[in-house]
Every structure is written in C-alpha cells, then in structure tokens.
Assembly symmetry: C2
C-alpha cells in the first residue's frame, strides 16, 4: 500500500532518504503550457539542499536542447545535461548498446528532435522529416531500392507519419537481416490541451501488427532509459526517487529500476486509479496531490 504524504515529517523524510530526484515533466511540473503551482519553488528548494535533479521524459519529438526551451519559457531552472528524453535515450541505445557500426544507418519514423539526437550521437539516418518520405506518393516496390546499410528502424511520435514511410520501414524490417525494431516509447496516448492524442506506441503499432512482433522500447517504463541515465550519472538507486503522474510509465519505470516512487495526482492518474475496486496493480511507494505540496519543506528546519 502507498503512503499518502501528509505530515511535515512525511515530507521531511523524503529529504533525508533521497539524494537524487527524478522528475517526469508533463503532468508533474506543468500541464501543457501551464506550470503546476509551486513546482518552481520546490525544484529550487531541492537544489539548495544539494539534491541531484534529473528530468525524464518520454517526449521523443524534441531534442534535449529544444526541450530545455520549454523549461526556459516556463521559468523553470534546468540544464541540458539534466534532461533525459526518449529521443536522446534512443540515440544512446543505438550507439552504446546495439553499437550500430558507423557504416550502418537508422531509418527514422519520427520528427526533428529524434534526428537531432541521432546526429549529436554521430548516427547516420534516413527517412524522418525527408520530404521524399512525407508524401502520399505510392511506394512502388519494383522501383524501390532499399538501402542495404539500414540496420535499425526507430519509431517515435511522428505527426507526419505516412503510409509510404511505414511501408519503407516494413521493407527494411523484413528484408535487411537483423534489422533492429525500436520504439522511443510505448505510450498509447499523451495529454494535450483539450484531451488526448495518439502517442508513440500508436505510431509503431502498424509495424507491430504487420510483423507480429513488438519493438524494443527505450523510454519509460523500460530500464533502457535508466541505463542511459546510469551511463552519464553516478547514483545509488536506493537513494533515488522517481516522481511522476503515470502508473504504467513513471511509477513502473521507478519500480523496474529499484527506485522509490512518488505519484502526483496533477496528471493522468486520479484517486480512483489507486484505490477502490478498479485500482491498478502498480502501487507507488508514496502519493501526494501535487509536487507543490513539497513547499511545506520551506518552513521546516
């Protein structure tokens, strides 16, 4: 059962027990374009207490550099090397785990952010935002010359997905021996102002269905994302807490990595999802209504 944080001692306990605070962003620090009340103050307080801050997002459409602009725009202190996005993690996975040879390429279903992270990691790619692939032009397989150097297909959220791009990806995954099938993350949807839109998991779904197999997923809840953070930061999982609004991504991610977990209710999860007859089997260690609740720490000591 989760502990619902309420007393001063509950909140103070977080500061005693954890050195590293990993934050999901959307639904935790902000909702769309609106800051969660108190988020800036709480982050500042944690920095003053010398806590290590890490931002972990499944957003694969933005590179870390571009994602940093969102923090700047909302007035939240953040540094590029504190930000771990699933596009960055995908690029690190391809270069460090798969160790894709330098003469191989990645075929991208995804947007600028994915391309930027691949480029920064020195990985060659085709597809993605190439106007040649973002059209309704039919793909003639008798004329199509597949690039034999494509050794992986990565699928992230792509609002310019086309039948042509998916069809090319399908050719690589069925014709090129040992071509890796990767997804930035498996989020089925994501919240936007006014509702939900299809997530990166839905973008790779046509290929999943046609191939009859699932991609290796890089983002939360996979531990791949944590491996990527581990490669850059030295931390003790026992003294690390993951703070998020989604049970099946953020909280599961923390649990898969042996971290403590704190659920906030300012995003996609409601009270009904964690208690009562339809409660999820994924149970966070701690629950608090909002990250802003940690402001109480200002008044302690």
């Amino acid at each position: 059962m989760s502990t619902t944080l309420s007393s001063d001692a509950d909140y103070a306990g977080l500061l005693d027990r954890y050195d590293v605070f990993m934050f999901d962003c959307d639904g935790v620090l902000w909702q769309g374009d609106e800051l969660i009340d108190g988020a800036v103050e709480v982050l500042a307080l944690l920095r003053r207490r010398k806590k290590q801050i890490v931002f972990v997002t499944n957003n694969a459409t933005k590179s870390r550099k571009t994602y940093k602009k969102k923090f700047d725009h909302l007035g939240v202190e953040a540094h590029v090397d504190e930000i771990y996005g699933s596009a960055f993690a995908s690029a690190v996975y391809i270069s460090s785990v798969i160790k894709l040879p330098k003469d191989k390429k990645v075929f991208v279903i995804g947007m600028e952010g994915m391309e930027e992270e691949l480029r920064d990691e020195g990985i060659s790619y085709i597809g993605g935002t190439d106007p040649e692939d973002c059209t309704f032009e039919p793909l003639s397989l008798t004329e199509f010359k597949p690039d034999p150097s494509v050794g992986a297909v990565i699928c992230g959220l792509d609002t310019h997905m086309t039948y042509r791009k998916l069809s090319k990806a399908f050719q690589y995954l069925t014709r090129n021996p040992e071509c890796h099938f990767l997804a930035s993350n498996e989020d089925s949807t994501y919240p936007v102002a006014g509702g939900r839109l299809l997530g990166a998991g839905a973008i790779s779904a046509p290929l999943r269905f046609a191939l009859g197999k699932d991609p290796i997923s890089i983002g939360k809840p996979a531990t791949t994302m944590l491996d990527c953070i581990k490669a850059k930061i030295d931390f003790d999982p026992k003294r690390t807490i993951m703070i998020g609004d989604r049970l099946n991504t953020d909280i599961l991610f923390g649990q898969n990595g042996g971290l403590a977990t704190l659920l906030v209710l300012t995003g996609i999860t409601s009270e009904a999802d964690i208690s009562g007859p339809n409660a999820s089997p994924i149970v966070p260690d701690f629950v608090t209504r909002s990250i802003g609740d940690l402001r109480v720490l200002e008044t302690l000591n």
Copy 2:
C-alpha cells in the same frame, strides 16, 4: 488432412458436390496484373455447368464497380452483383446489422472505394479523402469541434492515412457514446509486385493500440462477409466451396461459414505452410496447385 486433387475423379467430384463456387481473386485468378494460366477457361466452364460464381475480396480500396474494371481489363467475365468486396460488406454491415440511424454519420479512414460503397448504401460519412483530413496540419483539440452525429468509425486500407485522421477517429471513439469501431478487414499485409505492403489491419492498428481494443472486422475470415452474401444470394453452405490462396483469411472464412475449402498454391501459401513440422493448424479440405488444374474438367464427360 487435406485431399490433394490429382485424378480426373477428384476434379469431377467438385462439380458433383458443389453448386456455388466462391473465389478469392488475387493469388487465385491473377497475381497483381497477370492472369493465372487457365483461370478464364475454368470460370467459363463452371458457368456452362450452371454453377453460381461469387468473387469475395478483402480489397477495401475499390468499390465493386471499380473492381469490376479489373476483371474487364484482364478479360475475365464477372458481374457487379457477383463481386463482394470488404468495402461493400462494410457498408451493408453498417446499414443492415448495426442499422445506423439515417441522421448518423460514419467517420472514414479509407479511400474512394469505401466512400462509394457507403454512398450507394445511403450512408453519410466524413473524413476519408476529404483534403481537410489528408494533411499534416496538427489537430488542435481546443479548436476541434467533433461532429456529435458520428456513430461509427470504419478503417480500411488508406494510403493517405494521416496522424490527423487517426486522431480525429480516436476522438470519436472515445467521446461519442457507443461509437462503433469497425475495420474492413484485418489483413496485416497484402501482396504487390515486388513484395508486400501494409494491409488494412495495420491501418487500424494505431487505434487498436490506443483504445486497447479490437475493431469488429467485416472481411474474411469473419462470417460478417458471408452474412452479407447470404443477404443477397440464396445458397446451401453444404453445396458451396470457397477457393483461396490464404489459410488465415480465405480458408478460415470458408470453415467459419461451414463451406468446403480448396487451397491453391499460386498465391501467398506455399507447400511448406501446409505440410511438415511448421504446417498451419488451418487445414483446407482440398489442395490443388492452381485453379488452372480444373481445366481437366473440359475433357471429362
């Protein structure tokens, strides 16, 4: 175990036992744009013997009228009312089984053929080939005014699928009470010259994934397609044979409907799929190499 047709008596037996011959087309009568040797002669022979001919295709991109042109082009006698496509069956399903009220609409992910069949059945629709939906324009949910009269979403093969179209479909399926989720068929891929492309099943896959549920599928192997044929033709399933090249669509369709089944090996299924250690659990009643083998009937009697 299947009976492999070989003797004159084997082939003559087909004429004695069956009055209705249902044919899949691609891989049975033709391969892409090339006729299977003997197909025209065999169809003519069956017609002379007063057999009822039915063509059953999962192709949802063409209306029956347009599909008829393919027969004409290849010099195969066929009549529009002998052709049952999954777009036509979808329209019949919506009007006759769901009985969608006349003031309701269908949101289409699909092409001209689907729209034509819906129109012919007197069903209103939006989406589909509407240029407004076939763009990469982002969908703003704060500005989007969902049409409350949308009572069903139908997904067929759509080479102009867009994130925008899929996102709108997702809104209807999650916001409009009791909005039906339909697919013309679940084919994961389909054969074209030079290989395979993604089928209609892959087009509905993003919605499947995001909703966590499967659509009602109309085409083969679902019996919905057969119900649609039954509504138009009076036939005895015991005296009907389904002839096809795919085990998991054509042959399963015949078996689900209590029909006899004949597999031909001129399409997607090879000898290895029906015998040996990796044989499919779907076992047709009869197997012959090609529909052209039935030409032997010319010389009998």
